[in-house]
Symmetry: C2
Subunit: 206 residues, 2 copies
DNA sequence: TAAAGAAGTGAACCATGATTCACATCTATT
DNA sequence: AATAGATGTGAATCATGGTTCACTTCTTTA
């Protein structure tokens, strides 16, 4: 008979899926998850609402993918900072990781808020737990290494790692919840960094 | 003419309001905010849905009051622990405050999760920010005092206080998000306490 | 006990927004 | 060109759950 999907078709499918995802992320970056509706996504993408369902099973799946996509890059950056090519002390790596996380969250604006703290439906929240877990895992590995090298005092790597995630989320979110941007980057990042270093590395700053 | 609301009437009004609030809190304690609907509240209270609106302007107002109610006691306990009658060192008070917060959160179960982390609609989230701010304010005051007495090193009390709130929320929520209860209370509380003490008081534990 | 107004009722209404589906249109094979 | 199947359409449907309102019932005062 005729027409079985193949190469070119698949490519177009994938491209469209990708394009929709990109549009969705940009909507979230502007108005958060609460601004992401199927009809709006369709409108901005220039297609019909029903068409969206040819690419995503449901709103929940869409949100989950958006979350994953927007998150992957960030996690990767922190991971790369925590485990660089060249040898760097654990203390320095921890400093760098915390700094870069904070900087990116602050510059990320609305998107960062959406990813870190915006109230979302349970399906996305589930994804958020995974996201936080990814950070926690990175920190946990780094802390374990630091303990082994005696740079860090004995502690529960799991608890300390989760605590780090909590610190970063809370401190960076309090401001984001209210106004828009944050002015004094350094005014904020420096104390966070010092706090984290004292907690993990018992590092006397200043 | 006749019948102007007075004493007895007001008392009944207040009592009913109170009773509804109590029922609402118990629903949240069982199934979280997502389980709290007007019709369910009405059903459990044995009244009609419309009647609920004689006592609460809207769902959002109801949620806010529920949140406030469930929260007040907890905040008060931490405040009392942070600023006791008799003289206690800042370090000890910080230890006690963190411990009691963690213990109560763990024992609080579903309600604690609802108050600390459950995804809720923006109106309630607003209330949650206030709740977190209340804790942060207590910690901030305590930290300031500790800095003044030289028990704690120089640091940004504001950032450190927010960080404490973040730590407690995150570490206690990670488990709550998944399974039900937590087994090893001490297994968890002790590392948290140590982490916080290192961060705030540069206190060498163990 | 009559009247005024508060309190209670619950089915109907409304708003939001996800999801479906009968149909049209496009694309690759024969 | 004919056709099978994929893709696109968007108005209609569904689901949820908050909110309203015309009405009844209760309570207090005169």
């Amino acid at each position: 008979m005729s027409y079985r999907p193949t190469a070119k078709t698949r490519a177009r499918q994938k491209a469209q899926h990708e394009s929709l995802l990109k549009t969705a992320v940009s909507i979230v970056a502007r108005d958060g998850f609460c601004g992401l509706t199927i009809s709006r996504l369709a409108r901005e993408a220039g297609i019909a609402t029903g068409t969206v369902y040819k690419y995503f099973d449901s709103k929940a799946h869409l949100c989950a993918e958006v979350f994953r996509r927007a998150t992957e890059r960030e996690v990767e950056i922190v991971r790369a900072t925590s485990f660089p090519e060249d040898a760097v002390s654990c203390r320095q790596r921890l400093t760098d990781a915390v700094t870069i996380f904070a900087e990116r969250a602050i510059l990320g604006g609305r998107l960062a808020y959406a990813l870190i703290a915006e109230p979302v439906d349970p399906a996305v929240e589930q994804e958020r737990l995974i996201y936080r877990k990814a950070y926690a895992d990175i920190f946990e590995q780094l802390i374990k290494e630091g303990i082994k090298t005696k740079e860090f005092p004995s502690q529960s790597p799991q608890v300390s790692a989760a605590a780090l995630v909590g610190i970063l989320a809370e401190v960076l979110v309090a401001p984001l919840g209210r106004n828009e941007g944050i002015k004094d980057h350094k005014q904020l990042i420096s104390p966070i960094r010092q706090f984290c270093l004292r907690a993990i590395a018992l590092y006397e700053t200043a």
